[in-house]
């Protein structure tokens, strides 16, 4: 267990001062027309240049780099002309946590977090004979003789069990996709902005029943970059700082391939551990969270996160989301850029950029009023993490 006194010193010890994203919607349309804008490194480099410009940080100040997606530490640093002291690879939530701990400890002052992925134009497969990710997650490939493949199918099986235990319906689940689409309608950089109601959701084909087409995230190209530094360094930079106030991580790896943590426990033991630390460390009470950003490669991620973190009680997630609470004007805004379902599948990275935008007050038509604390939650494959960000 984490030492509570020690980690209290990590609160607000690092902040996001720069964000850069590629043109998701434009690149998606270009690819539909047969053109490809970049490879993964090109998207990463575009995002990096935009994040640097946004922040006012000079490239020479970058002394650590965290990468994600199908890019290598060495090659992206070579491409960008950076010789860091430290590199690491991590998913979006853990990347922010890695950078925050480097900065808080004094091992690094300014960190670039860089993601680039050409998954659509490059034809990345998330299921079937060429499914990606099997080297790290045995469950992605082990059950192929029975036809069981893809992260989507695993989440479909989880949701089916939730239906059986609690009476949750597919229509209730659809309200998550509908809410995120409503947010995306006011985001010019979202790939999917066409209005979608619950009837349109239900009319779409099944991919892996009980999940339908719009329960699945997009597969599109893009890149995201965050620049993080010390709060004292942020004072003379271009943007108001967004503080990393609290974070926690917990994994459920025992019996992961047998699927017990997801199918039997809905990852709740990991949610419980993370929940216990993240609010205490941040000093932010759950009731003071203004919005959530939830890793949403599938709609039901959101349902499980809402229950696991106590935004509604166990088994009540379906009824909760069906009230419309997650969408514009709702009581608990979730994935306000449109998330990975409607904005862009940047594997949690676009969520961090949207958090910074909202907390800076730069989210345009979808800007939340009086927004001061936003929580990120991710539980992909039982690797649960949460971060609470604040702007004051």
């Amino acid at each position: 267990m984490a030492n509570r006194d020690e980690i209290a010193a990590l609160r607000d010890a690092a902040c996001i001062v720069g964000i850069g994203e590629t043109d998701y919607a434009l690149d998606y349309e270009r690819h539909r027309g047969g053109a490809v804008s970049h490879d993964s490194y090109g998207y990463a480099a575009t995002a990096f240049a935009r994040a640097l410009a946004d922040s006012g940080v000079n490239k020479g100040e970058i002394d650590a780099v965290v990468t994600a997606g199908p890019i290598s530490d060495e090659r992206i640093c070579e491409v960008l002309g950076v010789n860091p002291a430290w590199t690491a690879s991590a998913d979006a939530g853990r990347a922010v946590i890695q950078a925050a701990t480097w900065i808080a400890s004094g091992l690094a002052n300014t960190v670039a977090l860089i993601y680039g992925n050409n998954q659509r134009s490059g034809g990345t497969q998330y299921g079937g004979p060429r499914a990606t990710g099997g080297d790290g997650r045995l469950s992605y490939v082990y059950y192929a003789p029975w036809g069981m493949t893809s992260q989507g199918a695993l989440y479909a099986m989880m949701f089916r069990r939730h239906m059986g235990l609690y009476g949750t319906t597919q229509e209730e689940l659809g309200h998550i996709a509908v809410a995120e689409r409503r947010w995306a309608e006011s985001n010019p950089n979202a790939v999917m902005r066409k209005p979608m109601d619950i009837d349109a959701y239900l009319a779409a084909r099944y991919v892996c029943e009980p999940l339908r087409l719009f329960d699945y995230c997009l597969v599109n190209d893009g890149g995201v970059c965050l620049i993080m530094t010390r709060p004292d360094r942020a004072a003379d930079l271009a943007q108001p700082p967004v503080y990393v106030s609290g974070f926690a991580s917990a994994e459920l790896d025992v019996d992961a391939t047998q699927l017990r943590p997801r199918m039997v426990d809905f990852y709740r033991p990991a949610h419980d551990r993370v929940r216990a630390q993240v609010y205490e460390m941040s000093g932010v009470a759950q009731g003071d969270i203004d919005a959530l950003q939830v890793y949403d490669s599938f709609t039901c991620h959101v349902l499980f996160a809402l229950e696991g973190f106590g935004f509604c009680s166990e088994g009540e997630g379906g009824a909760f989301v069906a009230t419309g609470a997650l969408g514009p004007g709702g009581a608990l805004p979730v994935n306000t850029s449109g998330g990975m379902l409607s904005e862009s599948y940047m594997q949690g990275w676009n969520h961090q950029a949207e958090i910074a935008r909202q907390l800076r007050g730069q989210a345009g038509a979808r800007q939340l009023d009086g927004c001061s604390a936003i929580q990120y939650i991710s539980d992909a494959s039982g690797k649960c993490a949460s971060i609470i960000y604040r702007n004051d």
């Binding site: 299921g127 003789p145 029975w146 069990r161 991919v207 029943e209």
Partner: protein, 136 residues
């Protein structure tokens, strides 16, 4: 079978996996079990995850269990497996969770807590697939 017929995927051929399929070919469902503490280890692994003993024995299980959840694939991911087809999660009476297919029942008739028993399908691809049927 003609050579043009798409094949089902072959079993995952990790260092410890082959005995599972050799037993299946003899219509036996066997899982590795720790001879020290009695824990089942599935999928096969170098050591028992409870006590770290390397002494694991391929132990016959009853082949009986109940259905915890299921999905029906509508998108075709594998050329050799026509859609729609189901995948089920079985809780074996001995405890381990096992992914398989349910045969002998329409997909629309699948339901929670169905009692199941193992059966074996000899495949043209050269291996025998453990599947489940509703218990008689």
């Amino acid at each position: 079978m003609t050579s043009e017929t798409p094949a089902r995927p072959q079993p995952y051929d990790g260092f410890y996996d082959r005995p599972f399929w050799e037993h299946a070919a003899r219509y036996e469902l066997r899982l590795p079990r720790c001879t020290g503490c009695g824990s089942y280890v599935w999928p096969a692994a170098p050591v028992c995850d409870a006590c770290l003993s390397p002494d694991l024995e391929w132990t016959a299980v009853s082949g009986k269990g109940k259905l915890l959840s299921w999905v029906v694939f509508h998108r075709q991911y594998f050329p050799g497996i026509p859609t729609p087809y189901n995948c089920i999660l079985v809780e074996l009476d001995e405890g381990p969770l096992f992914i398989s297919n349910l045969v002998g029942l329409e997909n629309d008739a699948i339901d929670f807590d169905l009692r199941l028993e193992v059966d074996f399908l000899d495949l043209a691809e050269g291996y025998t697939l453990p599947v489940f049927r509703a218990a008689g």
